[in-house]
Amino acid sequence: MTMVVDARGVGKVFGRGVEAVQALADIDMVMETGDFVSLIGPSGCGKSTLLRLVADLLEPTSGQLLINAKTPSQARLDRDYGMVFQSATLLDWRTVRKNVELPLEIMDFAAEERSRRAEEMLDLVQLDLFADHYPWQLSGGMQQRVAIARALAFQPSLLLMDEPFGALDEMTRELMQQEVLRLWGETGISVVFVTHSIPEAVFLSGRVLVMTPRPGRISSEIVIDLPPERDLNTRESPRYFELITEVREALRRGES
């Protein structure tokens, strides 16, 4: 089976000489198709950097990194992944529909196919009634759902999410988490999810990779053995709290 993400001894140094900063060191990370993996750690632990290496927005300075058995650069050119950023990053001058169509325009899809897929994606994120609104007319949560629809519009095999719900309030956040799990279940996509919220990582993931700073490393891996169907009951189950404690302790061990 080919690995969606296969990182061996990956490191990243920013700058040169005396100003060089080791952002990441000895990252080993393996993901299979359909995995949901969260990267968690304090600010500056390099979790966003690691996501950007996977996305080929940055290049590793050491080690080997393969995405779908290809170089990250080739995977990017093949549009193997869709990305969701911390801010929704919607283009103000485009309607919701046109924002979702943006990657499809760049990929030279025919106009009919573009609008068909945009409709389908907006249905999927339940924003079909807002297709002709402009981004500023939507709430933060809705904007982020548009960003997710846009990332999924070209059916990538991998979804990269960089603290996508960091700016949302707690209630919206929980709704969005449920939404992401539903999309994950419906599409069978693999997800790398960067967050600094422990409950969020536990609720969403199959595995949580705990990262520690200076230099950024994966200090432990926690398998989340909650049942695959997750809902409000999950959030109240004893096992959920045990796992949260486990992740918290792993983070604390990393600090000392």
């Binding site: 950007r52 927005l57 990017r76 950023f85 283009l91 001058w93 339940q126 609104h133 402009y134």
Partner: protein
């Protein structure tokens, strides 16, 4: 309709309403639109009339001589008497201004696109451009009169073009470059070429900057044309007409010409505003919400 659809539709409706909150008070759109128009322009209209009346009243009250400051009534009657001459001069000057505006703006757009595209070009050019922008360029007018022949409107257009070029170029370049880094990451993540990024992100992002500078440039272009005319050339243009009438102590005539210049300047500005609304409907929608 499912429960979800109902909730969404409801929030949708309140969303649409809240978007126009303040603009549409209870009672419907049309009266509100009229009231809004009145509310927006009425104060300006009233203060304009008050200023004119004060001007007329005070010049009469203190017996201010016409060669110091003519009364508005004198200016208006001169404006009507010299209608043909003064408008013909106005349109000749407008031709220089618009021609120079076109040349200057075109050159600025080409430079901006190049500066956004090639780092080397940008780093070499921008400091020079900023230095040149700080130079009072109108001082070049006598030299342009020499280069392009003092009798040709081209010599005035050249001054206008140079005056207009720098603000438009500097602003547009800024708009093209000051794009949210995450928008650039987004474009890279979907493997967009730099041409696509230019077309779909940088250029739309630069439009508000461009139009802000065009509004400044529209006013500058008439100023520059008239100032360039002061340095000599054909007599049937606004700048020379103003000088000649002033030399003959026909100050109401000079003021009538200034009135024409002002009407032309305002019209030019309003046209740019209209183009802005046409090209950036999303931006106007942002404004109506505020």
């Amino acid at each position: 309709m499912t429960e979800r659809d109902r909730i969404i539709r409801e929030s949708h409706e309140t969303d649409v309403l809240s978007a126009f909150e303040g603009d549409v008070p209870v009672g419907g759109r049309t009266p509100a639109a009229i009231r809004e128009f009145g509310g927006k322009y009425l104060p300006a209209l009233v203060s304009f009339i008050v200023v004119i009346l004060l001007w007329e009243g005070l010049t009469r009250l203190f017996g201010i001589e016409t060669f110091v400051l003519p009364k508005p009534s004198e200016i208006i009657s001169s404006f009507i008497e010299t209608w043909d001459v003064v408008w013909s001069a106005g349109f000749k000057t407008l031709f220089e201004a618009v021609g120079g505006f076109g040349i200057g703006v075109s050159a600025a757009l080409v430079t901006s696109l190049a500066a956004a595209r090639w780092v080397g070009f940008r780093e070499g050019m921008l400091p020079i451009a900023i230095a040149a922008n700080a130079t009072p360029i109108v001082a070049l007018a006598p030299i342009f009169n020499n280069w392009f022949s003092i009798t040709s409107p081209l010599s005035k257009m050249a001054v206008v073009a140079v005056v207009v070029y720098f603000p438009v170029m500097i602003n547009t370049t800024r708009g093209l470059l000051e794009v949210d880094p995450s928008e650039l990451e987004l474009m890279r993540s979907v493997a967009a070429t730099s041409t696509e990024t230019m077309r779909r992100v940088r250029i739309p992002h630069a439009l508000p900057f461009l139009f802000a500078s065009l509004k400044v440039a529209s006013a500058l272009s008439l100023i520059a044309a008239i100032v360039a005319e002061y340095f000599g050339g054909p007599q049937d243009v606004l700048g020379q007409y103003i000088i000649n009438r002033a030399n003959l102590f026909q100050f109401p005539d000079a003021w009538a010409a200034i009135l024409v210049a002002s009407i032309l300047g305002v019209t030019f500005y309003v046209l740019i505003l209209g183009a802005e609304r046409l090209f950036m409907p999303w931006h106007v929608s942002l404004r109506t919400r505020e």
